[in-house]
């Protein structure tokens, strides 16, 4: 039943896409498209939720389509249901936002048809139960989002972003194709049921896992496969950016989980080392890059890279525990990862919505040209602040819960037998802590430079609050962030069937614990209670404020800025974003991405302006992608000579080839 409804949703999305082609130009077109998408996503959302709550055996469905002799298979088990939940929630909330935001779109026909198609693709990936359907959905998703990235194709750099995106997406798909080729074998048993049926040899399983890591990881944005992400995500319209960062990366993670935990039934412990290393590197590098950005949407995109890294740390731990069959810690790690999947989709969508509101209100994405928006757009500011706090893993919001659970899983690692893991995991934990702290710094910068301080440009000065739909979307998400933060137990229990299906174990039931606190493994080990923390915070804060206002004074006087007695009226002397991140750039930058700083300070009395240049290199570009691209061009230049030979030379080619083949025949037998 859920599979059928899911497929109907996909069909519905496609119909809406076709409809959008027709009515896109009409003023009502945007409203109708997003409204319909909202309704369909909501349907899918409810279906997924029901399927998750009443976990009956997985609903399957087979159609005589797709791969010949195999057909198209669809299946909604707990895992698929959970990710359908994530996808459709993201889709619904983005549609709500789009109801408002879509009205500002100058060329709607470049967005409206692809938006529902994009949602359809993501749904299809999660529904698919055979390799072909899976990859069709996967690539369809890439194509639709590519079209959306190129929606504003005249903006400088977008074409390049689209190109890099689609090429890396294609390469990733081919990697997944190789994975399935390995798992399905030469006879091509591509139905997932078949693959589950006959387990693969260890070597095949390992290579398949690593290929899947590359294939799905490139879409999820693992370092060093992340380079397309910070280019493509910001290029798209903001609600699409939210979908790409908040949802599509999760679909990629779904793909990895599906392959690594469902299709490949055995885990090899040392693969977890690789995944942990990559995850940790991704988390730290991602947030470091994010700190260096001026463009707020690009900052958010890089922070997506970071969060993907955190999720993969959780997955790596799961594999480690699973390989040493420790089901309960495995369940803990997996729950942490999945919970972070959900949380990140919540606050990242929220943040991109906020960025979109700012972009629409000021026409600026460069934080250095913003500032003081908290006065102009207070509601957006509040919602955005919530998102910032959540993504910085601050209690009592949701980001903290999943990272806390990850830490708890890390703290179990000493029970692992392998010494390499014993040493690896604490290091990963330290890196995770580093990432969390840097994320806090990053979002202090994001919010502080964008919304606080004084407006740096007229554009920022004349900003206005955004529309009701956008605000509604943002506040719903903010509320979800808080709820997920204080009632994580409910979510963990919701995830129990998913996790149980994947690792064959489960965390202790949470909702029965007193005071609604959560316990990863045992009460004696550790526990956390968001509600009580929240209540305490509110009580103590409000109490103190009341006491002071009541018994001391509440008198307040407005005056000019003091600033140690030397206030500087000019707006540009505020602390800028780049100067905010300068210390961290100094500390980490020189080693991680060799930062080149050049200061050109005029001598005292000289009347010219001083200059300060910063150059930041992404090592991935320097050492991997740049050389690769150049190599391709060089080779094509070398080959290109063959276009201009004389006929005689071409004949010579034929002749030589013929002679070689003849020699082969002569030599044979």
């Amino acid at each position: 039943m859920p599979a059928i409804i899911g497929l109907l949703c996909v069909a519905g999305f496609l119909l809406v896409a076709a409809l959008a082609v027709a009515i896109g130009r009409r003023p009502a077109g945007s409203l109708i498209t997003y409204g319909a998408s909202l309704v369909i996503s909501a349907t899918g959302l409810i279906t997924a939720f029901v399927a998750l709550v009443i976990d009956e055996p997985a609903a399957t469905l087979a159609l005589p389509l797709g791969l010949p002799l195999v057909g198209a298979h669809f299946r909604v088990d707990a895992l698929a249901a959970f990710f359908l939940l994530v996808v459709n929630f993201g889709g619904a909330i983005a549609s709500v936002y789009g109801l408002g935001y879509g009205r500002y779109e100058p060329s709607p026909l470049r967005i409206l048809p692809y938006y529902p198609a994009y949602l359809a693709g993501m749904n299809l990936v999660v529904l698919a139960d055979d390799a072909f359907t899976f990859l069709v959905g996967w690539e369809f998703m890439s194509l639709a989002s590519w079209a959306l990235v190129l929606a504003h194709h005249r903006v400088a750099g977008n074409a390049r972003a689209g190109f890099i995106y689609i090429v890396m997406a294609g390469a990733g798909t081919l990697c997944l194709l190789l994975t399935f080729g390995l798992l399905a074998g030469p006879e091509g048993g591509h139905a997932f049921a078949t693959i589950r049926g006959n387990p693969a040899q260890p070597t095949v399983a390992i290579s398949a896992l690593l290929l899947a890591l590359i294939g799905a990881g490139s879409k999820a944005g693992l370092v060093p496969l992340h380079v397309w992400l910070p280019l493509a995500h910001p290029a798209a319209p903001s609600h699409v950016s939210a979908l790409m960062s908040g949802v599509m990366t999760k679909v990629a993670i779904y793909g990895f989980i599906r392959i690594a935990f469902d299709l490949i039934d055995e885990a090899v412990w040392w693969t977890s080392l690789i995944i942990l290393a990559i995850g940790a590197a991704t988390a730290v590098l991602g947030v470091l890059y994010a700190l260096m950005q001026q463009d707020i949407k690009r900052l958010l995109a890089y922070s997506t890279v970071e969060n993907v890294g955190i999720i993969f740390i959780g997955l790596g731990l799961t594999i480690a525990f699973r390989a040493n069959d420790m089901p309960v810690p495995a369940a803990l790690a997996m729950s942490a990862a999945l919970l972070h999947v959900l949380n990140h989709s919540l606050f990242k969508s929220l943040l991109f919505f906020g960025a979109g509101a700012v972009l629409h209100a000021t026409g600026e994405r460069d934080m250095e040209r913003l500032g003081g928006l908290v006065h102009r757009m207070p509601q957006t500011a509040f919602a955005f602040l919530t998102g910032c706090a959540a993504i910085s893993a601050l209690p009592p919001l949701n980001g903290f819960v999943s990272e806390w659970l990850t830490f708890q899983a890390i703290l179990v690692s000493p029970q692992l037998p392998q010494l390499a893991l014993k040493f690896m995991v604490p290091t990963v934990g330290a890196l995770l802590a580093l990432a969390a702290a840097l994320a806090a710094a990053c979002f202090v910068k994001a919010f502080g430079v964008t919304f606080l301080g004084r407006a740096r440009t007229p554009a920022a000065q004349n900003a206005h609050e955004t529309d009701r739909f956008s605000l509604a979307a943002m506040f719903i998400l903010a509320a979800m962030c808080l709820l997920a933060g204080i009632l994580p137990g409910v979510l963990i229990d919701l995830l129990a069937p998913v996790v149980g299906g994947l690792v064959g174990g489960r965390m202790p039931t949470q909702t029965t614990i007193g005071w609604l606190s959560i316990i990863p493994i045992a009460a004696s080990r550790s526990s956390y209670n968001g509600i009580i923390i929240l209540v305490f915070l509110i009580c103590s804060g409000v109490l103190t404020a009341m006491v002071i206002h009541r018994f001391a004074t509440r008198a307040t006087r407005r005056s000019a800025i003091w600033d140690c007695g030397y206030p500087d009226p000019s707006l540009v002397t505020q602390y800028s974003g780049s100067s905010f991140s300068m210390p961290i750039r100094r500390v980490f930058g020189t080693t991680v991405f060799d930062v080149r700083e050049r200061v050109d300070m005029p001598r005292p009395g000289a009347m010219r302006a001083g200059h300060f240049h910063v150059k930041i290199f992404d090592p991935a570009w320097r050492f991997a992608y740049g050389p690769a691209g150049r190599a391709v061009l060089d080779l094509s230049n070398k080959f290109n000579r063959l276009q201009f030979l004389t006929i005689r030379r071409y004949l010579t080619l034929v002749f030589v080839a013929l002679i070689l083949l003849l020699i082969v025949v002569a030599a044979w037998r």
Binding site: G372, L394, I532, S579
Partner: protein, 318 residues
């Protein structure tokens, strides 16, 4: 009835830390002044300061937003709650399980987040400097802190503070080199987090050196009072955290009789007093560092903590 008693016990701890916090501050200042051959302010001076600040009117910049006004209370609340959740005189208090050590560190991070934003709210250069450096220090300190937690949690098998304390008191921990290393690292972190010399100087307003003070430069009146109180609470919090992790002896554990409680309170007071004396002695021994030498300072803490963890694997390969 038992319920009432438990809640009362928790409340006692909550107010105990709140009450002694300024005293700790005053004590350190006094000792420091004496070491510098100064007479120094009376030990109770911080109370007077707070009282006075609370009654002054708060002066806000014209463009200060609600963020600016909420931040001090948020900071105070988070610090206070965090401090209240650390076992001081007794383990196993009723709410002790609502946050483990990681959550407590994170709570402090929440406060820091609010304060750093407040520093950037008015849009001055100093506020920015302060916030940016504060976040730098935090980003360097937190990994080290996590490794310390890891070492302790490995020994005690839990991150639940009162459980750790229990384990340290009863369990056959003995003297571990790892614990020593962890303690060393923890002290470094505590110094950095509380903006003490050599990382920061609470007594200076010299532009280039200040971190914490730069953030709160614009504050005045009751808001400043909140921030000062929060600073004092944070100091006390780290004292009692250190006590709880490494020297929990004398806490009331199993028997919750009044006598045990009283003993616990007394031992706690004595221990924090000793710490409040030791801190300024250490501070006067060293000089303030340049900002870009922080990584070395905290990096050493990180290395030590890591060593502590790895030695545990070697000594008792789990």
């Amino acid at each position: 009835m038992a319920m009432m008693f438990e809640v009362a016990a928790q409340g006692l701890q909550m107010f105990l830390v709140l009450v002694i916090a300024p005293l700790m501050l005053g004590l350190t200042r006094k000792v420091k002044a004496r070491l510098l051959r100064r007479l120094g302010p009376p030990v109770l001076q911080p109370y007077r300061d707070l009282w006075k600040l609370m009654h002054k009117e708060a002066v806000l910049a014209h463009n200060a937003s609600w963020m600016y006004r909420v931040a001090p209370y948020l900071l105070f609340a988070t610090t206070w709650v965090a401090a209240a959740l650390i076992p001081t005189y007794s383990t196993g208090l009723i709410f002790s399980w609502s946050a483990d050590i990681i959550a407590i560190v994170a709570l402090l991070a929440t406060g820091r987040f609010a304060l750093a934003l407040a520093g950037m709210d008015v849009g001055t250069a100093f506020g920015g400097i302060g916030s940016s450096r504060e976040m730098l220090i935090a980003s360097l300190a937190e990994p080290a802190m996590l490794l310390v937690v890891f070492a302790v949690a490995l020994i005690a098998g839990t991150t639940q503070l009162s459980a750790i304390a229990d384990h340290m008191i009863h369990g056959s921990v003995g003297l571990r080199v790892s614990l020593g290393l962890a303690l060393f690292a923890f002290v470094f972190i505590a110094v950095a987090e509380n903006a003490r010399i050599p990382i920061d100087n609470p007594a200076t307003h010299l532009e280039l050196t200040m971190v914490h003070e730069a953030m709160v430069l614009e504050y005045s009146g009751r808001h400043l009072a909140m921030i000062e109180a929060a600073a004092a609470l944070k100091l006390t919090l780290y004292f009692s955290l250190l006590v709880c992790l490494f020297f929990p002896f004398g806490m009331a554990t199993a028997d919750k009789s009044l006598a045990a409680m009283a003993l616990g309170v007394a031992s706690y007071a004595a221990k924090v007093a000793i710490l409040a004396v030791l801190l300024p002695i250490g501070e006067t021994a060293v000089a303030k560092m340049r900002v870009f030498r922080y990584p070395i300072f905290l990096g050493s803490a990180f290395a030590t903590a890591a060593l502590a963890v790895f030695l545990l694997f070697v000594s008792q390969g789990f």
